[in-house]
Symmetry: C2
Subunit: 354 residues, 2 copies
């Protein structure tokens, strides 16, 4: 129960002290440079020597000091995640994905939420990345869309991988999420159910994701010969409240839509509320489709049909691309780069009445 217990007196030996590269070198009777070569997989080490050194390293549980190594490399072993996405589920899943990609490597994840509106935004990010000499950064939307930030990162020569709904960059600096396919799937799902009066509540269209989801959606409607009339096309803010408001307006129209596709689950939850307020039932009077397939989707009643993006995998892929830059110097350049959303049908969507 005591926080800082006195440490037992250390006996003469290097008790408690982690071994250094010098210790290894001494034991292996080689220079520390050779040990360094083994650590860094240099090809210029005799197999025999390598094995001897490796054995000692393993035995002593030696691991090089990332700070010292970083200092010499002029680059740290930290990967940053810079984000402004307010959805906790999204953030946590992506973090986990990145961490999974780093598993077994000596990289660590440093996180950095930010606000693109802040006047210090660019200066802060520059200072952060430059000071920490980040090995690379993962940029989920919407920071991935900020060209000013990209310019800063290019200037200070910091590798990055952008996660976005369209290809904004070279393949090895991108994970493309094809949000428009998700929109299309939503449209297909609803038209197949027989809906014809279908509305959309999009996120702020200055977010590419919102734009792409909407684009795919209208495209999907077009496949069935349908259009998205102006009065059925509302832009909201990706928030619950804005969803309530937009949905209330839609549900007051005559004739009202029999289905609503929302740019995310938060706004879909807003539709639930607006529908209750208007005395309408889901999916009896209106079908609802969300986007994200967040935890909420399976807690709401009725269970929300939603489009799911493999956020964890996106993070993992992005980090893997970053890590690949050293591992095998641009070896298999074209790792998997694209991800496609999938519709998860639940209870909130059904054929329209009559």
């Amino acid at each position: 129960m005591i926080s800082r217990k006195p440490r037992p007196d250390s006996e003469g030996e290097r008790r408690g002290k982690r071994p250094t590269i010098n210790d290894i070198a001494r034991l292996a009777q080689v220079s520390k440079k050779t040990v360094s070569r083994v650590i860094n997989d240099s090809p210029f080490v005799r197999e025999e020597t390598r094995e001897k050194i490796s054995a000692i390293i393993k035995e002593l549980g030696f691991a090089p000091d990332p700070q010292a190594r970083g200092l010499a490399f002029r680059r740290s072993f930290l990967i940053g995640m810079i984000y402004d996405n307010p959805t906790p589920q999204y953030v946590v899943n992506m973090q986990q994905g990145i961490l999974d990609a780093m598993k077994g490597t000596s990289f660590e994840l440093v996180i950095r939420p930010c606000n693109r509106q802040d006047p210090h935004f660019l200066a802060d990010m520059r200072a952060f990345v430059e000071r920490q000499k980040l090995f690379g950064v993962v940029l989920p939307p919407s920071v991935s869309e900020d060209e000013r930030l990209i310019q800063v990162l290019d200037e200070i020569d910091c590798p990055y991988v952008r996660i976005a709904s369209i290809a904004l960059d070279e393949p090895d600096a991108m994970v493309v999420t094809h949000d428009h396919v998700g929109g299309m799937e939503a449209a297909r799902h609803l038209t197949r159910l027989g809906h014809t009066r279908i509305a959309h509540i999009s996120g702020p269209t200055l977010f590419r994701s919102a734009h792409e989801r909407r684009r795919g959606f209208t495209q999907g409607l077009a496949e069935a010969g349908l259009k998205l009339p102006k009065e059925f096309d509302r832009e909201a803010a990706y928030t619950f409240e804005s969803g309530v408001e937009a949905a209330a307006a839609l549900l007051a129209l005559k004739p009202r839509p029999t289905a609503i596709f929302c740019g995310n689950d938060e706004m879909a939850a807003g539709v639930y509320k607006a529908a209750r307020d208007a005395g309408l039932s889901i999916p009896g009077d209106v079908s609802v489709v969300g986007f994200d397939d967040s935890a909420m989707a399976s807690r709401l009643y009725p269970l929300l049909t939603s489009v799911k993006l493999p956020i964890h995998d996106m993070g993992e892929m992005a980090a893997a691309k970053l890590i690949a830059r050293t591992r095998e110097r641009r070896a298999h350049v074209q790792e998997k780069t694209e991800v496609v959303p999938e519709l998860v049908a639940r209870e909130s969507s059904a054929a329209p009445k009559g």
Copy 2:
């Protein structure tokens, strides 16, 4: 749209290169050691000298390299957050709190989810903390309750702050969350509404939080002369599914409880489902109170009454304690250490029928 733009040829000057302590020393015509003294607020620098150096530092926008500094200090400027809490909202809020405490300092946050069941758990954590020479770690529940981990941290002499529902350690290594007060508030709320048959679904009681919430709850019931009968006292797993199951059992009892207090919101959502399945209305037939006040609480219908813990502030306080260790060598030792949950009454709790 190109990821790695060629950098403009650097002119003779140190274009693009960050200044080092040597640059500052040269310009100020002092030794680098004196610059170092200024950086570290050593008292042995003449005011005049200090000002001259500070001015140059500011002008050049110099910031010492954390790796080099860390290497010499034998300690990094990274603060770790080790967690196993699966609730994204919780994780993100706490992260944000920690980051807010670090704002303006040169610390960065490294996150590390873990699984206490994993056989490598302790070894992994030791390697992580020791390799990175973490400045300190923040331990939210339930890792904060793991005495083996604490022992490891003590051994490698890594400072930590534990966030837990009871005082497990010295005040400067703790943030105490008094979960039992939350349980008590829930009990008071329900008894005041007139309920007498009140049930509880707790989290796994090997989690202190679950145990404390339950303890406070029974204590609150006792204040009103009530007991928690055995059949009204269920232990579940903090998950939605386990909540459904436990609630179904409770609602099948005769007479059934008129109110259920849940150890978290996830399980409360489970009660909603079980109630619907049983054809019971909330709060008409059963009142429900959750714990966490997660985002879900205000998306569910009816809005969930829940007990709220200031998670962001807990993270902030914990990190502040860590940082205070250097800032002003154990100056005001007794920073604020305790936090009290608050009940947020919404629609899911009302007076019992009749």
